[in-house]
Every structure is written in C-alpha cells, then in structure tokens.
C-alpha cells in the first residue's frame, strides 16, 4: 500500500538529510563565508537573511557551535530539499493545502533546530517528517469507541459516488462490527441500482446480519426509517444504511439524500470513495461535505493505490477524519485508519 509514495518519501528524506549534513565552511565575521579558512565538516551554512527575526545570527551560531557543541539548521540548508519534497508530494497527488501544511511543518521543525554533534541527521529529518505527516493525517476515527459512548442504535449513513465499493464497504463494516461483538442491521437503501438490493442481501446472508429491504425503485427514506425502527425495537447496536451512489452535482439525487438524512437522523454520515481516485476523491469528498455533510471518510481500494495522495490529504483538506481503508476483496480487508501506523509504514526502512 502506498509503495510509490513510500519510495519517494525515502528519497526525499535522504535529500533532506544530506543537505543538512553538507560539508560547509566556517563563516567569517562579515557573514560571507571565510575565505582562506579550511572547510570544516558539519558546520553551519552562513547565508541567513539578517532581518528575519527567527533566524539565528552568526554570533549565535558560533556560540552554539564552539561553546555548546551544537549545530543550527538554517532555512537555506533545507530550501532545495524542501522544494523537492513539495514536488514529490504534489506528484503523489497530495492536495496542495496538505502539501503546504507538510512543508511548513517540516520547515518549522528543522529550521533553527539545534543538533548536537554526533546526533543522527536522519533521526532529525524522520522526526520532522513524522510529526508533519501526523499533523496532516489527523487522529483518525475510532468507530468502536464512538459506538460504545453513544446511545444505541448508532445510525450510520453511507454516501458517495457510483462504483467506488460502497455496498461492499457496508458489508465489510458489518462484518467488522459483528466480530467486535456488536449487533448490526443493514438497511438496503440503494433502491435505484439494478441488483443492489440483491447484492447487499447476499452479503448480509453470508455474514448472518439482518437486512431490511423494500422492492427495487422504492423510497430509500422509507427503507432506512424501517431499519431504524427495527433496530430500536430489537435493541440492535448499529444501523448501517446503504444508499445509491450519486454525484454531488445531481441536485435531485442530493435532495433525496437530504430527505434520507432528515428521516433517519443519522449519528454519522460517512463518505465512501476510492483511494485510487487521488485528488478527485478529495474534491468530491469536499463537495459532499458542503452539500450533505460528512462526519468521516472511508477510502476503498487502497491496496491498488501506490501514490497515497487521497489518504494523506483528505483529512486535512476537508477537515473530516479518515475512518477506514479498504485493502482488498474479502470481508476482512478493511482496517481502521491509524495515522501512526501509516506514518511508520511510509517512513520505516524498506
């Protein structure tokens, strides 16, 4: 998963490290670099804009280097490597706002940083990248904790565009919750697509989950209302409401979704899209959030996405957490999105 991004981040990490490590000359008093002086390893570059208050002065650098035996990383040291990192992230389809946030975070973490002689440059760089990525990825969404701390039944409405694997995702979540000990009922709210009711019916039967269905072409609001009623009367923990895929610019379908929301009063509206759609998924999620609202996002087909752009950017760009990622065809191929694990995967040694 995200193999291409991992490879590129490894390269970016190497470039950042080597630009900090670069052999440079001891600065002279005028700040232009000491002509005639011997190059010294691991010393600080000198060309720091003097008017920038955040930048350490030459005296500071010398003091730190000679007395405290530490080095300070300057903006210039990392400028080129950060520009390359920026392009790397954009090429991986990481949305511009998320890219900007990562670059700003890494710059802030590194510039002015005191590095003790002998301290690994790589650990400095990895630390900065890790904290930047964690910042952008957000905290994820612990669905189990949410269910445990909210009145039952917890009603979850799944929305999204066509063909992204929404119905399969509903089944996977049902399986996951059942294994975690929760009782589940599925509402077959996709009454529009031919075969959708059958499809979710087969999933439910295979998983041993109760399903509420109406005939094809029926009112999805009525199906999902009945599902909630069933859950209330049978003390079911979670209602999973499937809906027909739709594009955000189809106003009649979006108003139907709005009606569903009013009728079933979901506790959570979850937007489902495919990771392979990259930045398109981020844009669509944002549009859905504006039109109908979204509390969390699920990305499917992450196993086929080597770039990882959507997964990295979606939480930061639309401000809603990524809840699960789908990673394959079987019911177990879904995992709660855990930012720390993803970052370890991306920055861990290959």
């Amino acid at each position: 998963m995200f193999g291409g991004l991992k490879e590129k981040l490894q390269a970016a990490r190497g470039r950042l490290g080597s630009s900090i490590q670069t052999v440079i000359t001891v600065p002279s008093g005028d700040g232009t670099g000491g002509a005639g002086q011997e190059p010294a390893t691991e010393m600080e570059k000198t060309a720091v804009p003097p008017k920038t208050p955040a930048q350490p002065t030459i005296v500071d650098k010398f003091k730190v280097l000679l007395i405290e035996r530490e080095l300070i990383v300057s903006e210039k040291d990392v400028a080129d490597a950060l520009a390359e990192l920026e392009l790397t992230l954009l090429e991986s389809d990481v949305a511009l706002p998320a890219t900007d946030a990562i670059i700003a975070h890494v710059r802030k973490s590194l510039v002015g940083k005191h590095r003790k002689l002998g301290e690994s440059v790589d650990s400095l760089v990895v630390g900065a990248l890790r904290s930047a990525l964690l910042d952008v990825l957000g905290k994820g969404f612990d669905l189990l904790e949410y269910i445990r701390t909210h009145p039952r039944p917890v009603r979850i409405l799944f929305t999204g565009v066509n063909g992204t694997g929404k119905t399969t995702t509903v089944a996977k979540i049902g399986s996951y919750l059942k294994k975690e000990g929760f009782s589940v009922v599925i509402g077959a709210g996709d009454t529009y697509r031919a075969g959708a009711i059958e499809q979710i019916g087969v999933h439910a039967e295979r998983l041993g989950i109760k399903i509420i269905q109406h005939p094809e072409g029926g009112d999805p609001s009525a199906v999902l209302f009945d599902t909630v009623q069933y859950a209330q009367s049978h003390k079911i923990d979670v209602v999973l409401a499937d809906t027909a895929g739709r594009f955000h610019n189809k106003s009649n379908l979006m108003s139907q979704l709005d009606k569903i929301r009013r009728v079933m009063k979901p506790d959570l509206v979850v937007y489902v899209d495919e990771a392979v759609a990259g930045n398109d998924a981020v844009i669509r999620a944002s549009e859905f959030d504006k039109t109908i609202g979204a509390d969390a996002v699920i990305l499917t087909k992450a196993d086929m996405d080597s770039r990882g752009g959507a997964a990295i950017s979606i939480a930061h760009t639309i401000g809603k957490p990524l809840m699960f990622i789908g990673t394959g065809q079987s019911y177990d191929d879904i995992a709660p999105f855990e930012p720390a694990l993803v970052v370890e995967e991306l920055l861990g040694d290959a």
Partner: protein, 148 residues
Amino acid sequence: MAETMQPMDQRELMTLQHYLKEYGQQAEIFISQLEMLENGRMEAHAAIEALEGMMATEDGVVLLQIGAGASVRAKILEPDKVMLAIGAEVVVERKNKDAVEFLKERIMEMEASQKKVTETLNRLRSQMNEIEKRLEAGYQQSVAAVQE
C-alpha cells in the same frame, strides 16, 4: 466425484448465481480501471513522442489537431518549455527533457498499477470459474433428478 457430491437445492443455486453476478460486476469495474490505465499509458507515450518530435523539428512547426479530424499548422514558440500537470491539479513548467522523464516515470507507475489490477482480476476470474463449475454441476444434478 459426481457421485459423492451432495445435491444442491434451489436456494444454494440461487446464492451461487448471486455470487457470480456480484463477482462479474466487480470484474467489470476492474476491467474499466484497466482500460483507463491503458488509455493513460498510451496518452503518455503519445505525449513523449510529441515532445521529442518537437525538439527534433528545425522550424518548430507541428500539426495541431483541433478536433473532428481537422488540423492546422502551428509553430511552437518555446519547444523546450512544457506545462505539465504533475498531480493534485498542479501545473508546473518543466524543460522538455525533464517532462519526458516525468512522463516515463508515470508510465512505469501505470504499468505497476496495471499489473496489480490484472492480478486481482485474474483472482476474481478464477473464483468465477469455480462458481461456474459448481453451478454447472448443480444444474446437471437437477436435470438428472428430474429425469429419474
């Protein structure tokens, strides 16, 4: 083998048909993804050919297709400067050579993705074959039962 097989009831046959249908729908999605990847790959190859061709022409004159099979002669003012969509809806200016390198990398990425999608599709097809075999056996049993 046929003798040891338990006869299938109608319900089981219907479930298998549903599975087959569902796998078929999934396979269609993967086939359309493969087509998209292939189109992207061919497009990138064509762009590389055009970029390299532009650098090779002496007068910088090319045929510019304007749709519906119509083309006009156009002069490329700066064949070494290419506006390139690198991802995330960001367009950057690159040198011709760098743009070609970028596109070659993209082709490699797309080929890797094609490989993964093809593997998944093959797995699905093999599952579909299994289901088809079981369905066929089930039908044969049903026919035999009716004839008896």
